[in-house]
Amino acid sequence: MAGYLFRRVLQAALILLGVSFITFVLLYVLPADPVRQIAGRSATQQTVENIRQQLGLDQPLLVQYGRYLAGLVQGDLGRSYLQRTEVSTLIASRLPASLLLMAGGILCELVIGLTLGVIAALYRGRPLDQGLMVTSFVAVSAPQFVVGLLLLYVFAVQLGWFPIGGYGTAAHLVLPAVTLGIMGSGWYSRMMRSSMIEVLRQDYIRTARAKGLTRGRILFRHALPNAILPIIAMIGIDIGIFMGGIVVVESVFGWPGIGQLAWQAIQRVDIPVIMGVTMVSAGFIVLGNLLADIVTPFIDPRIKMR
């Protein structure tokens, strides 16, 4: 167990190293000069060169990367070129909001997706099932920006049930979380449906029925825990997909998360911030997968950590 964990953590660290290198190279070859962004339009050539030198951007790629790594292992993510603040401060101030939103989104997509998936499986082949299937396509194909604005318009502006954007209370979280979760709920409902159908065919379900258990108990104690197993690995993958959605949702709802930070940084090639956000989100994706791998054996005793 300890050995397994150690190897997985080592693997995760290597993956993060790879991510950092690829990002660094990509940003290096990107046709945009961060120094121009810092120096402003009235800067003289001399000023530009000064800044380039101060930031070490005149060094060869590998030297720059080495420096970045050296900082990274000491927990130093560098300073933002444009905000002139520690990247770690910027991220730390925005991360909680993003995590909250992500947690809300995952909760939302699981609750909606799994419920619909189970219902569809129970009503397999009937009109309700087909209706739910179409619903799941709608969910999967709806652009998040439009969904977000629509929800905002209907539930916040017209009905006034929720605040119009912003951050703070639980009421603020509902609409962004739903927007973020809708797309995933479509996927989950489809996967849960097929997983559930598979499980409902299993012998042990028949055994449970033969024991005279109620439908509810069979569903919740026997079918669900088994059906949910293949879903767990998906949640790990999901975090990566969420990172993309978060940019859009945060901007619609004025949610102060790292998505907005990333978007602004990309627009203006604020390399330390881009690197920082990338590393943090990659860290979460890796962590998510790691957690999924660690949690699975607890739910499924057949799987050994190896």
């Binding site: 000069d33 009235s42 001399q46 002139r84 603040t85 101030s93 905002l152 901007s251 627009q267 203006r268």
Partner: protein, 519 residues
């Protein structure tokens, strides 16, 4: 002549303003964004200031100033009893420190170049000296600034945010984080800042100008999509949308008389233009550049942006001194344009690229331009990219055409010289420079230098000269001036104060010091 505040103004109340993008920094030496420009204006003061709602200079922290005959020595007498937010009194030492700081390469100020005319700038820039030799503290109330050459715009420069006076001890204490905990002499001071969410300014009770500000506080909420901000304004949750009325909502707002009444329209020191890279064929031929100028249907483009601009025919916007009234420029004439192309031997047209920043409405404008040029046989490929990538392509001289929207020149200060230097002068043509046309005419450059050597910026001969400069530029047509954008903003019903304060040409978007709330 000074400003008479609104007699109906009542003190008290707080207002809410929203922005899409985060506020990067409140360090006056660094801040150069749409969002933080006006905030810095309210937190800090410089020696010079502008009359609210106008482009007229007035003394700020300087009570008075004297200019030497040759226009190279400025002696400022400071106001007495002005204190920083930390309670200490401001002195001439602080002014010197602030100017040294902004020009020091370590500070990496994007505005350092504005101070190039101060004696000793070159030494500081190259790192040979760490203090401007041209700035001398005569006594605690007096500071003398010597220029290496006459500079008509110098007083405007001293009114820029970059010239704000900062207290040394606060800067040194905060170190690199001064931008997050600013200390100035301005009407407001920073009360609270939650990065990415909200920034709260509160009234500086000890402000040196009497009677202002009226507001007790201002809350800036950032990260708000402009459409959402407007929805909130309509619900009464927001007082001023910092990013203006989003195009998607413009029609709706204007169609509702109640809302339209609260829309404020104002001119802006802005010109939207297309740069034509004169160093690459076929734009190295004047006839081709003229053809492009004649091919653009500016009225149609303005229609596409809901009429929120006026057609332009020269680099300067109409409200800028030195604007040439009655200048003809190029009229819309596709047939003439074709003839010009034929004259250049390109009767069959050619293919080229138009770079454009990727935020609405710029790609749309680019498409309108594309259609106009297709009409004269020029095939334009659009490259819609992030701001940084467009700037890079422009600086490297890779972009044959660039639509300036989104990165456009909004003047830093109301002086005609502001539209020349880096964007049309020879200095900006180097690799990475902002002169994206790579247009360089030594004789025009010489005339510009001469115009700037006047001592009085408003001297009629000087303005005449600038007018001449821009006419000569247009004769070579390195740009297609397309329109001068009008600013439309909106306020909540409770907002009071002159409309001009809401479209203040300097303190964009609102001059916080003078507005008030009516309830």
């Amino acid at each position: 002549q000074d400003y008479t505040p609104d007699p109906n103004a009542t003190p008290g109340g707080t207002i809410t303003i929203t922005y899409k993008d985060d506020v990067a920094t409140l360090d006056p030496a660094i801040g150069y964004d749409w969002q933080n420009w006006s905030m810095i204006k309210s937190i800090f003061d410089g020696l010079m200031d502008y009359v609210p709602g106008t482009t007229e200079l007035r003394p700020g922290l300087a009570e008075s100033y004297e200019v030497s005959e040759d226009g190279t020595v400025f002696t400022f007498t400071l106001r007495q009893g002005v204190t920083f937010h930390n309670g200490r009194e401001m002195t001439a030492e602080d002014v010197k420190y602030s100017l040294d700081r902004v020009t020091n390469p370590e500070t990496q100020s994007p505005g350092a170049g504005f101070f190039a005319s101060i004696a000793g700038f070159a030494e500081v820039e190259s790192g040979a000296a760490d203090s401007l030799s041209g700035v001398e503290v005569v006594d605690p109330q007096t500071i003398r600034i010597t220029l290496s050459r006459p500079d008509a715009t110098f007083l405007h420069v001293m009114g820029l945010n970059f010239a704000s006076v900062v207290p040394r001890e606060a800067v040194e204490e905060a170190g690199a984080d001064f931008g997050k905990s600013p200390v100035g002499t301005g009407a407001f001071k920073l009360a609270d800042w939650v990065i990415g969410q909200r920034l709260v300014l509160e009234k500086n009770e000890d402000y040196w100008r009497d009677g202002v500000p009226y507001l007790d506080g201002i809350t800036f909420e950032v990260g708000q999509e402009p459409v959402v901000a407007l929805l909130r304004l309509q619900q009464g949750e927001v007082d001023v949308p910092g990013d203006g009325i989003p195009p998607a909502k413009f029609q709706e707002v204007m169609d509702d008389p109640d809302q339209a009444a609260r829309v404020v329209e104002g001119g802006q020191l802005h010109t939207g233009y297309i740069t034509l890279n004169v160093s690459t064929p076929p734009f190295d031929q004047l006839a081709v550049r003229e053809a492009v100028n004649m091919a653009i249907n500016k009225d149609r483009i303005i229609q596409v942006i809901n009429g929120r601009a006026v057609p332009a025919n020269q680099p300067l916007p109409p409200s800028m001194p030195g604007y040439t009234e009655g200048f003809d420029g190029f009229a819309y004439d596709p047939e003439g344009a074709k003839a010009k192309l034929a004259e250049a031997g390109l009767g069959d047209g050619f293919t080229t690229q138009l770079y454009v920043m990727n935020t609405d409405p710029n790609p749309r404008i680019a498409q309108a331009i594309q259609q106009d040029l297709r009409a004269i046989g020029v095939d334009v490929e659009i490259r819609s990219l992030a701001q940084a990538n467009v700037i890079e392509a422009g600086g490297a001289g890779e972009a044959p055409m660039i639509w300036s929207g989104g990165m456009a020149w909004i003047a830093d200060f109301p002086d005609p010289s502001n539209f020349y230097g880096p964007i049309l002068g020879c200095a900006g043509t180097g690799d990475g420079g902002w002169n994206w046309s790579k247009f360089c005419d030594e004789s025009i450059d010489a005339m510009a230098t001469e115009a700037d050597s006047f001592t009085d910026p408003a001297a009629p001969e000087r303005l005449e000269m600038w007018s001449e400069v821009y006419q000569q530029v247009m004769a070579q047509a390195p740009w297609v001036p397309v329109f001068n954008e009008q600013r439309y903003t909106m306020k909540s019903p409770r907002m009071g104060g002159d409309d001009a304060l809401y479209v203040d040409p300097v303190s964009i978007p609102v001059n916080y010091d003078y507005v008030y709330v009516t309830e």
